[in-house]
Amino acid sequence: MMARLKRRAWLSAGNLALGILLLWAGWHLFDWAVLQAVFLPDASACHALEGAGACWGVVAEKYRVIFFGRYPLEEQWRPLLAIFVMLGLLGASAIRRRRGRRLALLWASGLTVFLLLLKGGLFGLANVDTPRWGGLPLTLMLTVFGLGGAFPLAVLLALGRVGRWAALRALCTVFIEIVRGVPLVAVLFMAAFLFPLLMPKGWDIPSLLRVLVGIILFAGAYMAEVIRGGLLAVPKGQAEAAQSLGLSYWHVQLSVILPQALRKVLPALMNSAIALFKDTSLVIIVGLFELTGALGLAVDGDPKWRAFALDGYLFIAIIYWIGCFAMSRYSRALERTT
């Protein structure tokens, strides 16, 4: 009895200490990030802080380059609108009521508007070539189109790899193992620099498209293995039962096997999606300036502001965190309702 009381007391003392510690740390963080911080684009005020507070002024000064990369200044309302279109689409999909055909239609039109806004060349919008796309819209675009392309590819690869035809099985296996065997950076480098040399003269596929295909192949190979795990976890009896009802191969897969398989691997799939979202920051090595790259572009060459690059990185880290957290909440909601 005494021993239990004693342990209780220790535990609550521990809780108290932890609480005080958290409060103390929280207060200092708040003090640093808000109370002492400089919010105006004033470099000398930031220097005067000497680290006592955050310098959000770097974001206030460089927000154009950070959010929109190299997009032409006078047209920047377009990527801004495009960000809201994409967020609207993602938000609308997260609301559980919309389903099926309506949602597909919404996405098709939303993505068309998104691309039209960025590219222009129609309806009096000036044409903006893809190398100048950048910042947050580019991060969103690479993630959404990357996932949108990688997922169907992954399903096909996974089905191929567990399927009946030996040649197809071998082909899918070889593809997956090769792509998984090289780093994403190498895939991007090949897509950006080697591929153009191998193309016939006069062919000019924009680097962004090449890189996007590279990302799709890469993410597709990883997700294929996740989905294969799900396929193997569905009991054989399910397929046999469906076949005995006279359903065709695709009907069996689409209506019986895949829904069960995907449900089983939903957390792992979301893991891949989150990884892809963050991996898009690697496209900087081929000269595309998404959010992370755009921050470097904004501060690295400015002696006045480069001392506060860390504050800038903290700012975009918050943006990444919001994205990842939203994805993880969405995945949890899906797990509960399906």
Binding site: V65, L73, G287, L297, G301, D302, P303, R306, A307, L310
Partner: protein, 336 residues
């Protein structure tokens, strides 16, 4: 990098893939210029995304010469790993990205340097309170270095040649090196002297507490690079550089270029500004090309002052980058 070059050679004999560079530029209506992803004073995007710097102004000058409009430039910000590949593959027409001219790069990679636009050299930044006056006194010191460039190699060669020993602390990026140096983790920081000067002026907080030592342990002539095999384009790039120097020598500035063109009776000035002997024809340009270049970006001295000179954030003295008459090495053969 080597593999890409070999492939390029195999697939396009003579590396003439892009055809005649000048024709391609005219057809495109834009000069494709490779710059850095952000090196202060040389090429960097400002808060509005506008490109600024010496290397940037040089590309504007080229565009003014060839396309008659300094704004017709397509900028390609390149990392140091990408830069040569982008040029070899024909993605850019000229690499103007503070790139050191060395034998290995000038020969054997299908590239050729058109000259130098800025001469740099590796130096040391030290804390003044250490009392160190010369790099030779740094025996046994801990030195901060940024990895991935020739800096480490130069440092090792300097140590061997002068029989002293350093302890090097390597850092991946500039921010990390600066943090380490300013917090006192190392006694000295080595990098190109232009970078050290700008770091002392802008990042140290107290410039008077730091000294750039007098020694230069490497030669870093930075200049524009083009593909080998297109002599015509090479000549345009090289002579645009010389024209900027010649204009400074003759006292032609952005401000007085119109007045001089109308009034000057110095044959050399007349030639340069398109009212005398034609100096455009041999290059395949019109006779007023130098006039447009100076009108657009000013002469070499003006470009230097505006971007890296004493009044800029970098606060660099002209030093070796002055004209020969002022004790520098920026010499242009005659434009005639």
């Amino acid at each position: 990098m080597k593999i890409i070059f070999l492939l390029a050679v195999l697939l396009c004999p003579g590396l003439a893939c892009a055809g005649k560079t000048s024709d391609a530029i005219l057809e495109r209506g834009q000069l494709a210029c490779g710059v850095s992803t952000g090196v202060a004073g040389f090429s960097a995007a400002d808060s509005k995304g506008e490109w600024r710097g010496m290397d940037v102004d040089f590309c504007r000058a080229l565009a003014a010469a060839v396309l008659k409009d300094p704004n017709k430039v397509r900028w390609s910000p390149l990392t140091s790993q990408q830069r040569f590949t982008a040029l070899q593959s024909g993605e850019i027409d000229v690499l103007s990205r503070n790139t050191t001219w060395t034998l290995g790069r000038d020969a054997g990679q299908g590239l050729v340097y058109a000259g130098y636009i800025f001469i740099d050299g590796q130096g040391f930044l030290v804390h003044k309170r250490s009392g160190v006056m010369s790099a030779k006194q740094l025996d046994g010191a801990e030195i901060c270095v940024q990895t991935g460039t020739t800096t480490e190699k130069n440092l090792a060669e300097f140590a061997r040649a002068s029989r002293i020993r350093f302890k090097t602390l390597m850092f991946e990026n500039l921010r990390a090196v600066l943090k380490a140096f300013f917090s006192g983790r190392c006694q000295a920081f080595t990098a190109d002297a232009s970078a050290l000067a700008s770091i002392r002026a802008n990042d140290s907080g107290k410039p008077e507490d730091y000294v750039v030592l007098p020694e230069r342990i490497s030669k870093e002539p930075l200049g524009p690079v083009v593909r080998r095999g297109d002599e015509d384009w090479f000549a345009v790039v090289r002579w645009t550089l010389f024209a900027l120097l010649e204009a400074e020598e003759r006292g032609i500035t952005q401000a007085n270029v119109d007045a001089l063109r109308a009034r000057s009776d110095d044959p050399a000035v007349q030639r340069l500004l398109g009212v005398g002997e034609d100096v455009g024809k041999p290059l395949g340009l019109d006779r007023e090309w130098v006039y447009r270049v100076i009108k657009a970006v000013g002469n070499y001295g003006e470009i230097f002052e505006r971007n890296v000179g004493p009044a800029s954030l970098l606060q660099l003295p002209r030093g070796i980058n002055a004209l020969p008459r002022d004790g520098g090495v920026m010499y242009a053969p005659p434009l005639r």
